[in-house]
């Protein structure tokens, strides 16, 4: 948080621009915003008040502008604690290096430091009123610190320097108001000279002050604002396509293209419509992946023989750029066409055999073996969810075949899609083809799910087999390393079962999957490990959906292994928690749970004769009558209604605790009451452990 600038304090705008050779397009926004955060953080540490802080980014520059930055750091009262008395002086009473170091870091002699009594005993103590520094003397180190912390995956060196950065640094501009801050940044002395567009404005530009930066660069044909440039590109694409159809705009590609240009110019090119016989996904991939161009579709989402490319130049001969791009697109599409015509010389079956040479995982054999296991598991799942088992099995057999095709070799993102087209060409049933296509779904958070039941069965089988296998050879994901995409797979299983309302027991599925492995999986605890992993993903998923941790814990305590069933309970508890009775019943459950914790009870039936007060008789009656009702609702999976019914017990339960002393001296009275309470608690526990609900939220 920036501090407020008080009246009477002077403030100036601050600009820092790091000019580089072309930085990787995909990283630009992240780098620039991290740079911005780093500077904000540095300003906060130094207690320098300011207004807004913004970042700009182009391929050749990372820029941060701080508006109205105070020119003088306020005086600060510094309090620092050093080593403890024992650590500060040795037995001979001589100061230790730790003590001397602390004094040095405070800029004083050790003899000037006193001790202060703290919770950890007496410690060296430094206190000083420090006059604030002039802001401009602090800026370079704040910038350098921020640059050091940028998330650069592969920093590089260049020339004979030891400096490291994302790409070689060419210039640094650093202005505070109209003054250049000349302290070195990245080993370079900053100036006021920036550079415009590489070709349109190669000469230097003297930046007058931070507030004129954006306009001066615009004059030099550089749009510095990343998001603004992105929007302009989007508009240009739409405008370019407007007479023809709708451009296919993938956000990540738009971001990348924005990171590749300083002065976007949209150009429309076309290609021979003979290529349109090739599956359009392949053509679109060819345009996007290799040429970073945008495809255009008609209103029926059919590809048109045009593309839009964003160039970085107002060419003195536009046609040159268009014709050049058309040439490349033509070569790319010819490749796609070649792959396609080569691939369709064979039926998909032909490629299945080749999967024997592809390793799925070193200890788990080939992809062919995985295909065999997928087939068995998918077919069983198909039966459980009333999908067509014959179609499912066939799809499972063919599902990985397209990995061996030229098309997927060239465009890995077409896996499943190529298989779909080739299956249709081979006259496989529609649902077989669809299941092949859908079995990779969902590919990312928020992606669509399979629409066919066969696709669901196969998708589940494929993911469960992978999870079990990889956990079986002890390759669980760690940190950000998840090479087999197990987190995504687990989430996929959960989303498919829950959102598609497929009632399947995970434990049963995992057991089947384990049995299909011909090798003995080295991990003895593979079943529990995999199950716990999936449940952890479930917890994470609910958390992103705003289901509070206590609701999850209440259901998780019962460890239901059917995700759909789990979800039913979550929804029921969510609803229950909104009821006015919930709070008091949760407390009562907690109380009962505590009471029962250390008690053993041999009594089997509640004895009405042993009740003394009306409150306990009343509760016992209610428990008696509700029990059957709740069990019926529970068995029908109607958790919502069951918990709502149980909510009606709130008053009787409260009355019971108000008037009855459970731990009576008489053992038979006590046991009877304990039994009643345990019956009460068990009714709740069938669905969830309500005692775990917290009072907040």
């Amino acid at each position: 948080m920036s501090k407020k600038i008080n009246a009477g304090e002077s403030a100036l705008d601050f600009l820092v621009e790091i000019g580089t050779e072309e930085a990787p397009a995909k990283m630009l926004p992240n780098l620039a915003s991290s740079f911005c955060d780093g500077i904000k953080n540095g300003l906060m540490q130094a207690e320098l008040a300011h207004d807004s802080v913004i970042w700009y980014a182009t391929p050749r520059r990372l820029v941060v502008i701080v508006r109205a930055l105070i020119t003088q750091q306020p005086a600060r009262h510094i309090v620092r604690l050093g080593p403890s008395k024992q650590a500060a002086y040795n037995q001979q009473g001589e100061p230790t290096p730790a003590a001397l170091g602390f004094a040095r870091s405070c800029g004083v002699d050790l003899k000037d430091l006193g001790f202060k009594e703290t919770e950890q005993g007496e410690r060296l103590y430094f206190e000083q009123d420090q006059a604030g520094a002039a802001t401009h003397t602090l800026l370079a180190s704040i910038v350098n610190e921020a640059l050091k912390k940028l998330p650069i995956p592969k920093p590089m060196r260049w020339g004979a320097t030891d400096t490291q950065f994302i790409r070689p640094v060419q210039w640094v501009v650093m202005l505070f108001g109209q003054n250049v801050v000349q302290d070195p940044v990245m080993g370079m002395v900053p100036t006021q000279h920036s550079y415009g567009h590489r070709f349109h404005h190669p000469g230097s530009i003297a930046i007058k002050e931070p507030s004129t930066y954006q306009a001066q660069l615009l004059d030099a044909k550089v749009m510095v604002d990343f998001n603004q440039r992105k929007n302009i590109i989007r508009e240009k694409i739409l405008e370019c396509a407007s007479k023809l159809g709708n451009p296919v705009i993938v956000e990540s590609l738009l971001d990348e293209v924005t990171g590749l240009v300083e002065w976007p110019v949209a150009l429309l090119g076309n290609f021979d419509s003979k290529f349109l016989v090739v599956p359009q996904e392949a053509l679109i991939s060819a345009m996007q992946v290799h040429q970073k161009s945008f495809a255009i579709q008609d209103k029926n989402e059919k590809l048109l023989p045009y593309f839009i490319t964003i160039s970085n130049i107002e060419s003195n001969n536009k046609q040159t750029v268009i014709v050049g791009n058309e040439r490349v697109i033509r070569a790319r599409l010819s490749d796609a066409e070649f792959f396609y015509t080569e691939d369709i010389k064979h039926a998909l079956d032909h490629f299945v055999e080749q999967l024997k040479s592809v390793v799925f995982q070193a200890k788990l054999g080939s992809v062919f073996e995985k295909t065999t296991r997928n087939k068995q598991l998918a077919q069983k799942i198909a039966q459980l969810i009333q999908a067509n088992p014959v179609h499912t099995e066939r799809a499972a057999f063919l599902a990985k075949a397209d990995l061996m095709t030229n098309m997927v070799g060239e465009f890995p993102e077409l896996q499943g899609i190529a298989g779909y087209y080739y299956a249709l060409l081979a006259k496989e049933p529609q649902h077989v083809a669809l299941a092949i296509r859908e079995h990779y779904l969902p590919r990312f958070a928020g992606d669509v799910l399979p629409e066919t039941l066969e696709g669901c069965a196969l998708s589940l089988a494929d993911k469960i087999d992978t999870l079990v296998g990889i956990f079986g050879v002890n390759q669980a994901p760690t940190g950000d390393k998840d090479p087999f995409g197990l987190r995504r797979a687990a989430l996929g299983i959960l989303r498919i079962t829950i959102e598609k309302k497929l009632s399947l027991d995970l434990r049963q599925l995992l057991e089947m999957a384990i049995a299909h492995y011909h090798v003995k999986l080295p991990n003895e605890k593979v079943l529990d490990d995999t199950l716990n992993f999936i449940v952890d993903r479930l917890r994470a998923w609910y958390s992103t959906q705003g289901v509070s941790a206590d609701i999850f814990a209440a259901v998780h305590a019962r460890f239901p292994t059917n995700p759909l069933d789990f979800d039913g309970r979550i929804k029921a508890v969510q609803h229950f928690k909104t009821l006015p009775e919930a709070k008091s019943l949760a407390a009562a459950n907690k109380r009962v749970s505590n009471i029962l914790k250390n008690q053993t009870n041999n009594q089997e039936k509640v004895n009405p004769m042993l009740f003394e007060s009306d409150a306990e008789k009343n509760l016992a009656n209610l428990v008696q009558t509700k029990q059957a009702e709740i069990t019926t609702l529970y068995q029908a999976g109607n958790y919502h209604q069951a918990l709502t019914e149980l909510a009606s017990l709130q008053t009787p339960v409260d009355q019971f605790f108000d008037t009855v002393l459970v731990m009576a001296d008489d053992a038979s009275l006590r046991d009877n009451r304990l039994l009643l309470l345990s019956q009460l608690r068990n009714m709740f526990l069938q669905i969830a452990d309500i005692s775990l609900l917290s009072e907040q939220g």
Binding site: E21, A23, P59, N312, G324
Partner: protein, 298 residues
Amino acid sequence: MTTPKTFQEMISRLHEFWSKQGCVIVQPLDLEVGAGTFHPATFLRAIGPEPWSAAFVQPCRRPTDGRYGANPNRAQHYYQYQVILKPSPNDIQEIYLNSLRALGIDPLEHDIRFVEDNWESPTLGAWGLGWEVWQNGMEITQFTYFQQVGGLECKPVTGEITYGLERIAMYLQGVESMYDVLWTEHEGRRVTYGDVFHQNEVEMSKYNFEHADIEHLKHLFSNYEKQCHELIALSLPLPAYEMALKASHTFNLLDARRAISVTERQRFILQVRKLTQAVAQSYFDAREKLGFPLLQGK
């Protein structure tokens, strides 16, 4: 600048340009290699502290890229034009752009872009960061700042610029097939790239894919490997390096013959990598022994 009309004129232009930049114009390596990077003028000279600037054409052989002369863009034999600048000068991009101007490519007409592309050669134990340079969407150059070579940190850093000659020529001459590139023209007599190389593509593709003797090649590979190690033990890095290059090309031939399984492949690559790393270290030691002669600015 006008556009060079022929393939050989294009090469002379580049020679002339880079010669003026102070580059040693060396000649191609007379061994089979997959890329200009394998030339000792690149791989070995990038090692150690000595400055070095060179430019050369290198014929490259990539047996698996053979298409029997039937593909207009792909061949098992082609040319790279390589420039090595060590340490990489601050204005290296600008110099490179001037070389394009020397080829008649005007960046105010053409859309020239530096698109991130990082390079790694597992067999050379080398990696670097840089770009592929696009001209109107077509990759015409690979531009790399070497960070590591033969497992050794590059200090100073070498800048490597590699032009795809056939591609650029096709573009400049406006032809759709590399075989239609005009190699030279004299008094109305035209010689094309196809005249010079088409038969070679057909025959070499047959050899690479169908007739190379697998058993013999496997035998050769282990021999080269063995001798490479022996030569390193004798502190003879240059002949050792030749053995490593021969081993590498032998591996490429075996690969084209599909004589190497997926798992074996990794093993072969690691073996070659071991050779080149040992050579790199041995070369560094040898130069050090000589007192890094090129450090003395003469």
